[in-house]
Symmetry: C2
């Protein structure tokens, strides 16, 4: 939980007070993704500060800066809907902060695995969600998507680390499973707590499919990433 | 001192080993500015995490992301000179890390003052240095410069804080004086330790002026910022 934040004033009387609830769930979707990007920016930067070399530091910091770019795009999307970004993000603060509190990397190599695994899951999610959206929402999501997938550098580093200490493989496989499980848990919680969002992702689904099927696809893609890292699923 | 970094291998046998020392001092200038940007990125992000509202958090994180953009531009400039960015930055790690260790903000309002004061000093420095450089170096410096000056939002916040607690003015004025003094100390140390860089900034100077005059101009501009904050110089 982000203890530094005061109670949210705009929930009751802020800039959004005069507007009816936006029925399509797009504000919720953007609020969720915007806050997730902002927190990833902070978390990745914190992890990058621990890197052993300036090059690794810069590589992970680059992923963080890309997350901030996503946040800016999504904030702009929220403002284009006449909503306040902070009010749109607020409902997701607790669940996302909790996810990160439960998945704090213990060391540098766990940071790399988290960066790679999370970046992959998020990119998969964007790709699947894009198919469910109308223009111009879809366009914004695809714009964010082109800038994901920057974690590729982590794969070589993780494999090197496992070669030099083969016992790492067990711990990291466990870690990656936990990350994936926590990410699905977060997604399920968010869907349960935000009806419009769940409806957006479920009801509009034509091809390929509603939330349940989305989760099973995420699982398949995740298995591919585990193979790239040389880890058991 | 950045304790997480291992001894630098490329100083003796890295990618730059075959190249003669680059005589103009431009690699040193870019190395200095690149490392300063990278560290500012980390420091501002750390400070942003303490913000009391999501809007303030995003505003300071935006400054941090801009610093990472500067780092990327300057790294590219170093690579264009056939040098390794990490080797070019290495000689400045100790002095810059020490500057930040000596100027760690005690709270959120000190973070804002540091962001505004430092961003201003750096922008002044870029502006003055640009006049001393040939193309294409000058162009790169001006490209970085257009993206500085983002700290304007801090002015309103600092003034509000002083209005609601007038005793703050004394502490913050002292803090800003210390920041400026430490920044000049850093600049002097860097000049003393890097002859080519000092020569680049001194010898090529035509109008307006060598290092000594540069410092006195920085002092004038700093006084203007103190007035904007409502603080005694």
């Amino acid at each position: 939980v982000d203890a530094g934040l005061p109670p949210e004033p705009s929930a009751a009387g802020g800039a959004d007070a005069g507007l009816p609830p936006e029925p399509s769930g797009v504000t919720e979707l953007f609020g969720l993704l915007a806050y997730a990007s902002l927190v990833s920016f902070f978390r990745l930067t914190q992890d990058a500060a621990r890197a052993g070399s300036l090059d690794d530091k810069a590589a992970l910091a680059g992923m963080a800066a890309a997350e901030f770019g996503h946040f800016q795009l999504l904030s702009g999307g929220i403002q284009a809907l006449q909503r306040e970004p902070s009010a749109a993000m607020r409902p997701f603060v607790e669940a996302i902060d909790e996810f990160h509190a439960r998945t704090t990397p213990a060391d540098w190599v766990e940071s790399l695995v988290k960066a790679y695994v999370s970046d992959g899951i998020v990119a998969d999610f964007y790709r699947m969600v894009a198919q469910l959206l109308d223009e111009p929402t879809r366009e914004l999501v695809l714009e964010v998507l082109v800038d994901t997938g920057q974690a590729q550098f982590a794969v070589a580093r993780v494999r090197e680390a496992i070669v030099s200490d083969p016992r790492l493989a067990g711990r990291l496989a466990l870690w990656a499973r936990r990350l994936f499980g926590e990410a699905l848990g977060l997604a399920q919680r968010v869907m349960a707590e935000h009806e419009q969002l769940a409806r957006l992702l479920d009801a509009r689904a034509v091809q390929p499919a509603p939330v349940g099927r989305m989760f099973s696809q995420l699982t398949d893609y995740h298995a591919g990433r585990m193979a790239a890292l040389g880890l058991a699923v």
